[in-house]
Amino acid sequence: MTVIDLKNVTRKFGDLTAVRSVSLSMEKGICYALLGPNGAGKTTLSKMIGGVLPRHEGEMRVLGMDPWKMQSEVKAHLGVVMQSDALDDELNVLENLRIYGLFFWLKGRAFRERVAELLEFVSLTGREKMPTQALSGGMKRRLLIARALLSDPEILLLDEPTTGLDPQVRQVIWTTLRKLMEKGMTILLTTHYMEEASQLADRVGILDQGQLITEGSPTELIHRTLPSCVLEFDERESPGDAAVPDGSLVEHHGDRVYVFDDDETALRNWLGEHGISAPHLRQTSLEDVFLKLTGRGLHE
């Protein structure tokens, strides 16, 4: 079943086209990761899906409804975690949840049970009375996830759920999201982290300057874009692009040189011939795909 379906969606801010004719569709129960550099339009796209922003062109269906025209209905079935930590700072953890729960007619005993369950789920049990100002970044993000889950949504939209968090917290959040996926939750997340996408996502879309430039499963994307092995070394040691083995592909990102080839032995032999110190021979990753497709310079 298709739960999110976009056709040629365009959104402008004045003269700037933040999202340019994006088409994508998402099946129920999958995790879709939108990758893209800063300013690519990830937030804008997820806000349009969440019914927060209108679009200027294109067709959109979320659970069969137009998210802008049927905002309240769509929002009632979505759990959203926005990029900014939108918590009411004057209230404590429990009160933040309580107020939001009221939007979904959740109160009394039903509310208490749900909150106990959710706080346990995001490892925040015992923090009910803490003012949200006193929470760390990771706790805030977990609280936001708990709040988004209050209404038992069908789709979860997460805008950069782990940006700015330390690796441990990131792992905790990934575990939480994996548990949700096991229960059949549909998740759309945006991220800068390739690792996050390859760890969690069934499908990945790369957004660059408002355009969806490629889409597919992580392995599919890698196979489609680049050879399977890569040799990475410092530019100063490069024998020159002309010297690489036949059929290899060379890329330069910053002061690193990347030589891609399907034949690992060929790369190894070549390495021996040129005596490069501290080389790094590995499998091609999503990160290589991302750099190749979005270019290496800054877009801002």
Binding site: G14, V80, M82, S84, D88, D89, E90, I99, F103
Partner: protein, 338 residues
């Protein structure tokens, strides 16, 4: 004294009953500990203490009755707490998701210091004006009391309303509302009502001046209770007008200061519309008529304070309130397109 008893007793009795009912409902739903610690109670004690101290303090000050201080304290605090609880539980049942918005407004917005500062200033200023005039002339009319209350309101209201949208935008909490299943119109009306609740709580103690006048009037002639009722109605109406105007000012910017300034400018322009008409010598032309008609205090509040409830004045305030609420909703919606 009979009037005083009826005036205070009937609404007081209704409030207490509603409160007890509300308390009962809340406790049954949430269980004792949760019910009593509900966020509604966070607002209640603040209001109760301020009102209680004020009512009691005025009793002590003017009537020189220490006992009145205690009675006033209780008389102010108990109904306020009960009102908060009662309204809370009742609305919760009638209209949960819209009321969630109102509640969020009342509790998050009024957990900040500014509204309490406004409340404090309001009570001090009105109390002082009342006292000074009573001292000066020995006689104060109901009309005079409420006229000064209204002019203080004009000055203080932008402080109450400036944050409604602007602060939420600046702090990013507006996203909570954006992702919740409520419409922009519901959010706007909720912000309006949340502020009105606070305003009413602020206004209620000024009824006390009337009872003081009754006391004082035993020597110099009793004031008529009629104008008090109409004046209260007028104050509620002009309050709605100011709040919706301030709400609109807050909806067009992300800066609280800008919102406050815009609200002041709008109100001052409206208040000065009569003198403006005179300065430009258009008083008896149609332009002048419109300008004069737009003057909220002179043209439309004044009759209420004299005890005259003219439906045209009611229509003026209500239509402007609705108009500014409509503008606010439009301004929020149009921001999303830009």
């Amino acid at each position: 004294m009979t009037w005083a008893f009826i005036g205070a007793g009937v609404p007081g009795g209704i409030i207490v009953l509603a409160g007890i009912l509300g308390l009962f409902l809340r406790l049954r739903e949430e269980g004792f500990a949760e019910g009593v610690l509900a966020p509604s109670l966070k607002l209640a004690p603040g209001l109760a203490i301020v009102t209680g101290l004020f009512v009691g303090g005025v009793g002590l000050w003017y009537l020189n009755e220490p006992l009145l201080f205690i009675i006033g304290l209780v008389a102010g605090a108990v109904p306020m707490t009960l009102v908060a609880l009662g309204c809370d539980a009742l609305f919760d049942r009638l209209w949960p998701s819209f009321y969630a918005c109102v509640k969020r407004e009342t509790f998050t917005h009024f957990s900040t210091p500014i509204p309490y500062f406004v409340l404090f200033l309001f009570l001090i200023l009105t109390g002082f004006l009342f006292w000074a005039t009573l001292r000066g002339t020995g006689n104060v009319s109901v009309r005079y009391v409420f006229m000064s209350v209204a002019s203080i309101c004009f000055f203080l209201f932008p402080l109450l309303t400036m944050g409604l949208f602007a602060r939420e935008r600046a702090e990013g909490t507006i996203e909570v509302l954006m992702t919740a299943p409520v419409s922009d119109a519901a959010v706007t009306v909720a912000k309006f009502l949340g502020t009105m609740v606070f305003y009413l709580a602020m206004l209620l103690p000024s009824l006390l001046y009337y009872f003081i006048l009754v006391e004082v009037g035993r020597e110099i002639g009793k004031p008529d209770p009629g104008p008090v009722i109409s004046a209260m109605l007028g104050m509620v109406l002009i309050g709605g007008f100011y709040v919706s105007l301030g709400l609109f000012a807050s909806s067009v910017t992300s800066s609280q200061i800008m919102a406050a300034i815009l609200a002041w400018v709008l109100v001052i322009l409206l208040m000065l519309s009569k003198p403006i008409a005179e300065v430009f010598g258009v008083t008896y032309t149609w332009v002048g008529d419109i300008l004069v008609y737009l003057s909220p205090t002179d043209e439309h509040l004044e009759p209420f304070l004299r005890g005259v409830i003219d439906p045209r004045d009611v229509v003026f305030f209500l239509s402007f309130t609705v108009f500014f609420l409509f503008l606010s909703v439009r301004s929020i919606e149009s921001r999303k397109w830009r």
